[in-house]
Symmetry: D2
Subunit: 331 residues, 4 copies
């Protein structure tokens, strides 16, 4: 879904960008509340869009957006990963009201066969699914009483279906009638440095394919009739964004080094951002329209990220389980 | 689903067995019509259960059951496979009324991760899916006008999702509203020689998991509200069936060779079949309850069978496509 | 490899069976030492064939055979699994001399695409591979100095290759020159109750395909020029074995209940075991030659077993790592 | 392998680029012979580097480089694909001397788990492997006498095995002793428009990982002791290349539209190409070093390309097989 906001912003779902772009001088915006927690290892940003004014300025629906950023996600720093898991599990609790009897459906969006888009399906494969166990009594003794009813699907790995993702999800929601839907997806970032180091969660739903630029229908409380918590990780940057970012930094460097002709570089740089982006898009289009940028070791990265997200969901949804339990039962 | 008929018959869906067992002397049964076509290479049996009497005797719902048998399915005899594909495509037409505008949903039941149960999902991966192409105009020129609207899913198994297969299929049927559902599944056979050489089709629905002994809910016109054509291939024999069959043959051989004590072997053989089977089941249960027998090269076999079935469905559902087209576009 | 011993024994690699069959009255056999450890939860049997006499009687090469049996392997009893992992890691140390500088190659035999035969490849996917890290310095700090040089291959997932497994393994051994090769494989058991609850290890090598009845070449110190520890889990029983076992038990039950004609049942039962087995094999052969019996939930079982084995190998091969480290870095 | 040539050229293996860059005015270069065949649909370029002078100018080893370019590879134009298959099969014959008795090993380099790098393994899965069939007599009758001895492997990547790809390949070559090795790999292109529409073949070997920027050892006749035909398809462009290309085109467009200040844009454009590239690389590095650009539908693309390449190899290596045979036996 095209997410148009005041400044140039395509293919992005990150609230932080919205905040940065709407207010460069860090002035408080009426109707938008910003909180920052954490340290240099793990940074948590909570953006709460509270009314129509905030919605209009931020160009995003009213609701809560929690972002966890940590460079540790890019490497095998398991200690920090465990901290992230605990923080994420707790923050999920701040996004939605879960009762002990709440039944939850976790939906993994994306395509298993395209590595940077396989985050959703891989999370699903690590979710502790329990909905079917209640009547059969097959629950391991130690876990009785500590679990919620959780089920999980990956519409994208139901095969190349010919069916809209929203149709599949809505059809299953109508039958299963969960109290909450958690939707996990890979996203596109607006800045290259955000890739694979940011987890965004919100209670306003998700546009599947936003990250991979498919015009697909939105998945949210309005379309499903059920509250939706969306969890996304930017795993790609689209090619035009990458070029634009790099050009900006290149010009910054040149401008800082030359005096002669600097006004022309300034002119190049301050070309209306949207115009500059359109020029780049047009140039790229015949050759690279629809191309995305991803790191080479993307498979290890997606495995790592899917483990973090799945573990956090398992802890958040099953109140009696700790992280070491998860490792032993699922890992 | 337990399929109880007059003689011992568990875990089987094959109409031929019904026919054989209900009438050992080949007497015409009122309410049941039997036709046989083909030759020694490919044998086609059509069992038409027409009224309540036939239903009571055959212990199967009223409807049509078409079985294609050919030893060639067990090997790489591509010529005979092409004949089977054409016959199967034609017979599908005899099971249901397809208009040019009919929209079809193909459902692949079973578990990709258990090789003999992966037939359904593998067929789905080879179906020519078209439902999503109409509005985008992405259809290859040559195919325009020769296709129906076809979509496909593999719901996975309850152990993976926590959701009953029927719930998932019904949820999607309610949204997609196809005119016909084709459900593909792996089955259990009652005789070891039927494995991987028999394709059964019917218009009375399927009990998913019948082959792999999960008590799951039925998928048919009654539960879905849409006509259902079921396609099944026995890929396993359950352990108790195998033992019972072999014991019978063993006794036959001993009886034919000995005179002394033969009356005792007769006695052993004519133990009420159901009793003999129960004894065997009880003996096996602590050790091998729920065990199935399958050939070692099962992966190549399932690949081969899924290709035959998918090709036949593609030809049957897309009227303008021939087998060589399929090979080029899909293969 | 056909493993012929005094009594009927096909498709089996279990030393326990050898011991049972060679000496029904538990008499000490000269040249064979038997030790049993553990409790009713986990039972460890060590069979040490020490000289030519023992070799001749047991029909197995001179060497050590350690078997770990536990019903807990069939279910999700993670506490007992952790005990098994520790025991197995320790016993591996009793089978071979590992120095801190020893370089190890782990080989996963089998076919990923046939679920009961996928044990080897799945273990390989969970091995902590380190050989390539030494020069790049990519080792996570915390692990430095606690690891051996370990590499791992799955010849069967190098694709359907057309190359003998032994050729592939020997070719790689000649280049990599490890100090030890650990070969993991799925086996066939002689008794149905052994399936998925037994881990056998030995230092006499393995015949790949013994379990799945392919006449493939042996992998041992003689053919590789390097010491070999073999690790196997019976995941299947061949069909003829299953029938024979069940028939025996059936007859036991009938004999214990009838008086009349019991001498004939006795006669049936005491048919020379090998003859009885041959009759069964012949009867099965046209229909089910080469068929194997496996439980329905075999995918979950293989996942569980591969986790136990891989964890045990990781602990045994990397001296500075504990089980919780493994869970966090690998799991 | 860093492929340094006169002008800026990193991460590329395409002979065409070499030719273009070495001689902008299409002057014949002594020691280099260029031939062009085909039409606007499929263009075939043969670059023959014949002596030390050509080698020095083109910065590539002496040998033959055949490139097939066709936009049809990006879509489902099966008719043109069949033409490409026939052309490629014929050109392979021009790269190497195949006798009827030649034994061939096909090696699929790359990582199945990273979609744009999975070309090699996917080709391997479609190769008609025959080496193992000769003694077992399992060849389908119709194919006898029309096949060569062909085997195939996918060594995986060093991060999975801990073993250098060259070590694995050399170990197997030493055992199997083929007369020819065909190595298939995904590459990086220097120009975005080359992606997924170019197949390059040469008889000078390949540097595995060149495309994905791993400094891995070369696979060629010198390192293997066997002639090597390399087949590569650029499936990615590295991020720095993409930025640089786009910047150039952007500047061209601006320059063509403005008069004022154009000399400054010229200056920007004619920054020594290598300097400009280095600046871009430095800017990208902390954020996107090692990042690659690939189209979103990369999985369908790789499937399509692997089918074309595998079919061409099957026809080239097995003289008695036609394309329709391949479709029926393999597809």
């Amino acid at each position: 879904m095209d997410d148009k906001i005041g400044v140039m912003n395509v293919y992005t779902d990150l609230a932080i960008d919205s905040r940065e772009m709407a207010s460069k001088e860090d002035i408080e915006i009426e109707g938008v509340r910003l909180d920052v927690e954490g340290d240099e290892n793990i940074r948590v940003t909570i953006v709460d869009i509270q009314n129509e004014n905030g919605k209009r300025l931020m160009k995003r629906p009213i609701g809560k957006y929690i972002t966890i950023e940590s460079e540790s996600m890019k490497i095998n720093d398991v200690d920090t990963h465990e901290d992230i898991i605990k923080i994420m599990a707790q923050k999920i609790g701040e996004l939605t009201e879960l009762k002990p009897t709440s039944a939850v459906l976790v939906v993994g969006l994306g395509n298993w066969s395209v590595t940077p888009d396989s985050l959703g399906p891989k999370v699903i494969s690590k979710i502790l699914v329990t909905r079917h166990l209640s009547d059969t009594g097959a629950l391991p003794d130690a876990l009785e009483g500590s679990l919620r009813s959780v089920c999980a699907i990956s519409p994208g790995v139901m095969g190349q279906t010919g069916i809209e993702t929203l149709e599949i999800v809505k059809g299953i929601v109508d039958k299963v009638k969960p109290d909450l839907v958690v939707a996990v997806d890979a996203l596109a970032a607006r800045q290259t440095n955000r890739i694979n180091s940011t987890i965004q969660m919100s209670n306003t739903g998700v546009s599947p394919g936003a990250g991979m630029c498919n015009k697909r229908l939105q998945i949210n409380e309005e379309t499903l009739g059920t509250p939706v918590v969306a969890v996304g990780v930017p795993t790609v940057v689209d090619a035009a964004t990458l070029v634009n970012d790099t050009l900006d930094r290149m010009l910054d460097e040149i401008i800082s080094q030359t005096t002669v002709g600097s006004e022309f570089y300034d002119m190049l740089k301050h070309l209306e951002s949207e115009d500059k982006y359109r020029i780049i898009e047009q140039i790229l289009n015949p050759y690279a329209g629809n191309m995305f940028v991803t790191p080479k070791e993307v498979d290890a990265t997606i495995d790592r990220l899917s483990g973090i997200i799945a573990n956090a969901l398992n802890i958040a949804l099953h109140p009696g389980i700790s992280l070491s339990d998860i490792n032993r039962y699922i890992g």
